[in-house]
Symmetry: C2
Subunit: 115 residues, 2 copies
């Protein structure tokens, strides 16, 4: 079904490295590389006492990571538009960085175009 | 059902003002106000020849707007954690700024905590 974008909603449980801003940044860069999108801006926001938000704004929409170390949980969104992307490699990239015990995911087609 | 966050996925069709970075910024600020979250950073990225991305990073996660003026379409995500927020007012805020003909929405509970 044709839409303007593909939005992958990822739920990662039993993760490591959730309080490390450098790992969050590297995960964002890995997803950018895996999906072959054009990076426009990348920012990471550490929280006190714990938790990190990281965002990559790309020409094709965005990648967002929020972490809750206290729940060993990360919420990750990978939203791309244009050509089809290698989402399997993107998922593998975040698995490598955060080593979750369990991953749940939902794939949403955004902006479905009806003639 | 208890989760760490609430993610509202909005699809707006038949919109106005989609190529105006100032309207996108104001919409983000209106949603921040409506949901009573703590703004940490707000950035707007205009695209050539058209389209705007705007993101508000808040202490309670994020608000993201992507616009496609060529389809009169905007993809908006409102992700908050912590206490319950006034999402009805948030939806009204984006409706006021973009005057869509049609709004579709999905409410995702992120990070469902199972004991």
């Amino acid at each position: 079904m044709k839409g303007v974008g593909t939005h992958l909603v990822l739920e990662l449980w039993g993760c490591s490295n959730l309080n490390d801003p450098e790992v969050v940044e590297q995960a964002l860069r890995d997803v950018v590389d895996a999906t072959d999108v054009t990076l426009l801006d990348l920012r990471v926001y550490p929280f006190s006492p714990q938790g990190v938000t990281g965002v990559a704004i790309v020409a094709e929409s965005h990648i967002m990571i929020h972490t809750w170390p206290e729940h060993t949980y990360a919420a990750i969104d990978i939203f791309t538009c244009g050509q089809e992307r290698d989402l399997t490699s993107a998922i593998e990239a975040v698995r490598t960085r955060f080593t979750p015990d369990r991953v749940q995911m939902m794939h949403i087609v955004r902006g479905i175009l009806v003639e």
